[in-house]
Structures are given as C-alpha cells and as structure tokens.
Amino acid sequence: MRLEFCWFCSSKIYPGHGIQFVRNDAKIFRFCRSKCHKNFKMKRNPRKVKWTKAYRRLHGKDMTKERKRNRPERYDRNVMENTLKAIKKIDKIRHDRAADHIAQRWKPKAAKERREARKELEQSISLIKAPLAIQSQEPAITVPKIKVKAPKQQTVEDQLMEE
C-alpha cells in the first residue's frame, strides 16, 4: 500500500479513493476526489486555484515542503531503529513549524486593527457624541478642529435687491 498525492490539490490519497488518469504519453495523474478530477478536465492550473496546496505554497501562505531526498540508503539496523523512534518527534516539529509560519503571517493583523480602530475613533466620534458635548464634558477626547468656509451672509441690502 502506498499513499499517493493528488496531482491537483496535493492531499494524500488513501486506497479506495479517487481516480487515476493515464494520458496517452503514459503520464499518470492521480486525483483524490471528483472535484480535483473535474478541475483538471477543465484544464485549470492548480497554481492558480486558491484552495490547492500548490497555490498556497507558491504564494507563501503555507510553509514550503522541505526538499525530499530520494537517494536510497544502504540498510543499517541502527539507523533504521533511530529513525523509527524519531518519526514521532519529526512530525511534531514539522507540524509546529507550519503552525508558526501561519501565526507569523497573522501577527501584524492585531497591530493594524488597533491602528485603524484609533483612527476611526478620532474621525467618527461625532456619530456618537456631538462635538460641543465632547468639548465640554470630556477634555480627554480631543476632536480636531475642522475649518469650514462660512457661506457669504446675505446683507439686508441684498435681500431688498432680490425683492
């Protein structure tokens, strides 16, 4: 039994799932489910389809896979034993690193939200409280003075002229 990877979304294909498509040049495309198969038939490029691993790795959303070394090693019992013991820890480290990568991506969001909230408070406080009320009651919140050009006041003479 061998776990393959879906050609389109890069998820693991367990036995009994999915379809393999053999092209006339004998290249095999494995798909995990009909969603991926149908996208392939539509000739969509997985690197452009947002929910695939290919897109996420390409655009830095997910941690890129470490380089796989396919060179076979001579069987050494000690190496084999140590590897089997270490697999659990290696998996945990990989999982943590991937989670860290995503956490780092989300880090600047909290600071940005705070900045935007402060700016909105300064600008739109008048939606909640009238400017005069703010000035008299809470000197802590300073509303920046907004200069408005006053319309030219109609003098009595102008009004008589209109009539």
Binding site: I19, F21, N24, A26
Partner: protein, 122 residues
C-alpha cells in the same frame, strides 16, 4: 464500455488505424465490452500498402478504455482513448509493436505476448 458502432484506435502496427466494433465475443446479447474483452470489428481506416485493408472484418482485444477500470484494491484507472490490438483466432497479436500504455489485466487473461511487447504496463 465499448459497444457495436464504437470506434477504437488501433494500438499496434498491424496496418489498421481505426476499427469499428461490430460484436462482443462472449455471452449472447452482451451489452458492453471492457478492457480485456475480445470484439469483432471492421477496419474503417487502414495504412496504405499494409496486409490489412479497409472494410475487413477482424478480431481485436480492447486494451484501453475511457471508462474507468476498477481493480480489487479499490484503484480506478481511466485512459485517454479507446484502443484495441488486432488479434487472430488464437489470441496472438497480428502486429509486432504495441503503442501506448496497456492495462495489467491482460496478463491474467493470457494475452502475454501483448503485455511483453507493451512499452508501459499500468
């Protein structure tokens, strides 16, 4: 799912290019043929100056289908086209070369010569 009137590509160098299925060998009123079934076909298109001519009735074994082939381990394989290899009454291929991938099922059905000539067995 090959049935009479289905056009198939020819996957060997026997001289035929395109076959049209006429009949499926096996039980009477069998509806569809899959990979490994023998069919009676008529040659619709042939390479010029070859031993096989157009509108000759011959037998062929199906080696690739667009319909998925289901295996006992749950694997499903789908090919890009429908293809057959021209054979004689005993089951030996008429051509000397096979083109394209062949399904592993043919070995169990005693088409060993075809499997041995195939460039890729999947």
């Amino acid at each position: 799912m090959i049935q009479p009137q289905t056009r198939l590509n020819v996957a060997d160098n026997s001289g035929a290019r395109e076959l049209m299925c006429i009949r499926i060998i096996g039980t009477s009123n069998r509806r569809y043929a899959h990979i490994g079934d023998v069919i009676v076909a008529v040659i619709k298109e042939a390479i010029p100056n070859s031993p096989l001519e157009k509108s000759e009735v011959i037998r062929a074994v199906i080696v690739r289908t667009c319909k998925e082939l289901k295996r006992n381990n749950g694997m499903k394989i789908r090919y890009d086209d429908n293809a057959a290899v021209v054979i004689d009454q005993e089951g030996n291929p008429k051509g000397t070369r096979i083109f394209g991938a062949i399904a592993r099922e043919l070995r169990q059905l005693n088409f060993t010569k075809i499997v041995s000539l195939a460039p890729e067995v999947l």
